[in-house]
Symmetry: none
Subunit: 221 residues, 4 copies
């Protein structure tokens, strides 16, 4: 006797349930969809419609969670920097300054290759959107760079590196790992897959040589 209604209600609840997400979950859903689309298609080709379709909501719903398209990508960038910083912090437990700095480089490249979309968004692309924001948001990024400089300084203080210029040396190291990462991400198609691993390893070895270049100096004198 009740069955008709009960069924209906249960069914509705079922549907409801599938969709019941708290704010955080829903936001993550949107962000994930946006990110997935981003690497495949680039910023301008990620449309609100496509995001909505991916998560099976209406476009209008997106706006309940994010002010606009920009905010979505801005949030993604922020999350990226946070994750990036966290992963880099992990090497700070290593005592030996040389080992620490080498590990730092490894972690950097690893992050880039394992989070291509984030890395692209954070360090490669230059959609003007991402530039006109409060400086504070770059802070985590700046923190990461400070970490690098710290680690470089430790090495220099311990007598490593030919140069004693922390700023320049840090930038050079950053350039190196960024070059490796971004080329693999953006021009990876130019390199046969079987080479890629080898190349990363070889590149990091060269990184080690740069750091260790002090002995050479002494001897040369």
């Amino acid at each position: 006797m009740f069955s008709k209604f009960t069924t209906l209600i249960i069914k509705n609840m079922g549907i409801q349930e599938r969709k019941v997400r708290n704010r955080k979950e829903m936001e993550k859903h949107v962000l994930d969809a946006a990110m997935k689309l981003y690497l495949k298609e680039g910023y301008k080709n990620v449309t609100i419609r496509k995001i909505a379709k991916t998560i099976e909501y209406s476009p209008a719903t997106i706006y309940l969670y994010f002010k606009d398209k920009e905010e979505i990508f801005f949030t993604l960038q922020k999350l990226g920097f946070k994750k990036f910083y966290t992963e880099q912090l992990s090497v700070q437990t290593i005592k030996d300054p040389v080992k620490r700095l080498i590990a730092h480089g490894e972690v950097y490249v690893k992050f880039a290759l394992e989070n291509k979309e984030y890395y692209d968004l954070m360090f490669i692309t230059s959609e003007p959107v991402f530039m006109f924001k409060d400086r504070k948001d770059w802070d985590t990024g700046v923190n990461s760079y400070d970490l690098l400089k710290q680690n470089v300084k430790s090495c220099i203080d311990a007598g490593f590196f030919k140069s004693k210029d922390v700023e320049t040396t840090a930038f050079a190291l950053w350039s190196f790992v960024h070059g490796v990462s971004s080329l693999l991400i953006k021009r990876g198609f130019m390199i046969p897959d079987e080479f890629k691993k080898h190349i990363v390893k070889g590149s990091l070895e060269i990184l080690g040589q740069i750091i260790n270049s002090k002995q050479q100096i002494t001897i040369n004198k």
Copy 2:
């Protein structure tokens, strides 16, 4: 007596010539405007309308010189690769392999910083447009890479570099100069202007150390 014909012919040639020059000039006009907008706003934000407005012509006029938007950017890319290759060729006159390779790196970074937009278009961005084209157009790019590999091999053959692996070493060097170039272009705002020159110089010195790393090895043994 001949004057009539002569005048006519000369005048005609003059007109002809002027026309040719104008067409080329106009094309350059369009390309320049597109390029200027590109670095500022990114591919998708460069619209035919904006280009037209910049050069003070109507949008329809653009289509008298280029088939469509894609052709504009494709032409730019082609020009970029040509210029890039030509500049790199210039170092090949240097006999000493080490000096040559270092000069190669310098020229690379110099090109990138003096032609930011081209460099961006060629090596940083990844608008799908630029990928689905005749392979031939990438050839100049590939040629440049071959040049690098040649120069790396000369150094290795001369006993320089710790590693004997041309492929990996070349990629590492490319990564390095690409890293320097692209960070300065895209994240230059993170670095105070007065540092930039210094940083480039310092980075290139490190490049020299990498190449010279052989002596160190011998001695260590």
Copy 3:
């Protein structure tokens, strides 16, 4: 006690229903406007903008209901063929083959004159758009022609018509009713209005004569 649920359900169904009706209504709105413009101005002059203006919506709204301009006209054509076929089926209840065939002709011309735009779209125009479509959509049209051939055959079998060639006779009859219809639609302005009715009637009488032409044959022998 149940009222709360019941109300809710009924209300929901109501809304659902209204939505469905509205969508269909809106589609019809668009189709009607397109059709109205079509007869007045021809396919190429029916623009999305004009349709939008006619129904007092924005151009973008049209795209919520139809994928593109082609789909609008394709839908119209389909509807036309369906209506056409349905109306023709109605004569099949008539037993007497001669009366049936004559009625068939009458229905044909009646459809054409009462649905000028449809008739134009279906049988007069030749916008290439309408030709490159799924063959299935022409099927209803083909079905109609089959119906005609069937009816012609019945008459021939019953000894009517001079010729025994179904194919040719059917085509001749089709030509006749098509000629009457299309001239009235397209060159109607050449004929004073007060004549039109008379003309149609007269033409259909001649049609009757063609069918009845058997007696003559008998006698001639």
Copy 4:
């Protein structure tokens, strides 16, 4: 010594010569090109550019010979009606009214099938362009119709045709030949090629029967 100039001049004259056309020739050239494009692509798809390209002149040149696009097609229509009328006049030498009228029908269909583009332009299409013109231009068309009516009247006066209504009978005959013609032109693809000739012949025979329908009447009484 003179050779250089002479060559040039001769060459120029050569080019000149190839292009030297008097006004009439040039107009014909444009009209032919327009016509050729018309049947293939329809009025709206015949662009001035395409015409210009076909005749190897610049679009601007077209405007030296025709005020605008409309005038081109209007001229074509006028030419069509003239040709049409001339061909129909040819049957007037036939004395026997029945034979004359039958020949009239044959000539009509023959004209249509041999001048599909003209026929389309004159009797099938309905680009609004062609309607808003001076009534006078339709006169040749009207003349042709008058001819038909004359011939119909001759037959009726001679005791042929069941009906005595010239107007209606003429219209019916016109409908018939127009139906045959236009279906073959526009829906020809629905009919296998090997049938077409047969069909035309069969249709015209039926036309004969209609005209001859008097005997039947007499006998029936």
